[in-house]
């Protein structure tokens, strides 16, 4: 029994190694880079560890883990009753605000600045658009997985991701221009 438990624990540690970065990234993005993101990730994996017996395989393990993570994060945000740390820009002022915060091409060299620029752009979106485009384009979930997670029809998810990308375009223009110039490797 002890060896069986040890083997099962090794297996779960393998799952942790595969998915911890993905869930940490999600927690950081949905909480605005909150310092509690680590606690949220820990809670996610502890819940997954306790509930692994309930995983029936109807969805992928990644989707199942994302469901747990989203519940943990939503509970946290609800408890704390706080907005995403990066406040949305005033209407009509989004592009200038982003450009002002990324003043030079040299600044865009660092991964931190690139990541912050993307996160600031995402923070300007309404919560549901931000969640859906994050799950699709950053986390790489398929549309049907996202639809299952959030309880929306696939077509609704598709149209909202489409709208989110349209709204993000002007905010991400500096990064897109650098990509076109070949200096920002994507």
């Amino acid at each position: 029994m002890a060896s069986a438990a040890a083997g099962s624990r090794d297996a779960f540690d393998e799952l942790v190694a595969r998915h911890q970065m993905r869930i940490y990234k999600l927690a950081r993005m949905l909480t605005g880079g909150d310092a509690d993101a680590e606690d949220l990730v820990q809670e996610t994996f502890v819940r997954a560890f306790r509930g692994i017996g309930r995983f029936r395989g109807e969805s992928s393990f990644n989707t199942w883990l994302h469901r747990i993570a989203l519940n943990v994060i939503k509970s946290y945000l609800s408890r704390r009753s706080r907005q995403v740390q990066i406040a949305p820009s005033p209407p009509g002022d989004k592009s200038d605000a982003l450009v002002d915060r990324v003043p030079s091409n040299e600044d865009l060299e660092t991964a931190t600045v690139q990541r912050d620029a993307i996160d600031r752009a995402l923070a300007t979106l309404p919560e549901e658009l931000r969640l859906l485009v994050t799950l699709r384009d950053v986390q790489g979930l398929e549309y049907h997985e996202i639809a299952t997670l959030v309880g929306l029809p696939i077509g609704t998810v598709e149209s909202r991701v489409f709208r989110a990308r349209q709204r993000l375009r002007p905010l991400l223009e500096p990064l897109i221009r650098r990509s076109s110039a070949g200096r920002y490797v994507m």
């Binding site: 099962s8 297996a11 799952l15 994996f45 502890v46 384009d137 549309y143 375009r169």
Partner: protein
């Protein structure tokens, strides 16, 4: 772009984009934004993150949930299965299949997890999360049953 169109749909879209600049721009927006977001650099995990997480899981493991909770639950749930397996073993010839059935039934009744084999972790072809989950839940017994057939 998102893999949602079949070949006919892609061909029709491609033909339309050749003549519609508005749709060209809209498509280009979708493509470039998706590319930028997908390339978002990962943040570094905080120092000691993995160590702290594994320590939490160690605490969960030591609480004995794996032995006490799930396997007893499994045993209780599988009692009817165990009974059926004994019946199966009793009414068929003492073939290898019947011996397997009797062994599996005894294992279930003993409360031990049937078939968890940590050595399978070493197999180079185990790359899918689902197989790992199956190992955790002791469902590798199904792989052994397959090998007996």
């Amino acid at each position: 772009m998102d893999g949602r169109l079949d070949r006919t749909g892609r061909e029709r879209l491609s033909a339309h984009l050749k003549v519609c600049s508005a749709c060209q721009q809209a498509t280009e927006t979708q493509v470039v934004v998706k590319r930028v977001l997908a390339a978002r650099p990962d943040e570094a995990l905080p120092p000691g993150f993995s160590t702290r997480l594994l320590a939490l899981l160690d605490a969960e493991s030591s609480s004995g949930w794996l032995e006490a909770a799930d396997w007893r639950t499994w045993s209780i749930r599988l009692l009817p299965v165990a009974a059926a397996l004994f019946l199966f073993a009793g009414i068929v010839d003492r073939s290898e299949r019947a011996e397997w059935a009797e062994k599996e039934a005894a294992t279930i009744l003993a409360g031990a997890p049937p078939g968890v084999d940590a050595n399978l972790l070493a197999a180079s072809d185990i790359a899918e999360d689902r197989l790992i989950v199956d190992l955790i839940m002791g469902q590798s017994a199904s792989l052994r049953r397959e090998s007996l057939r």
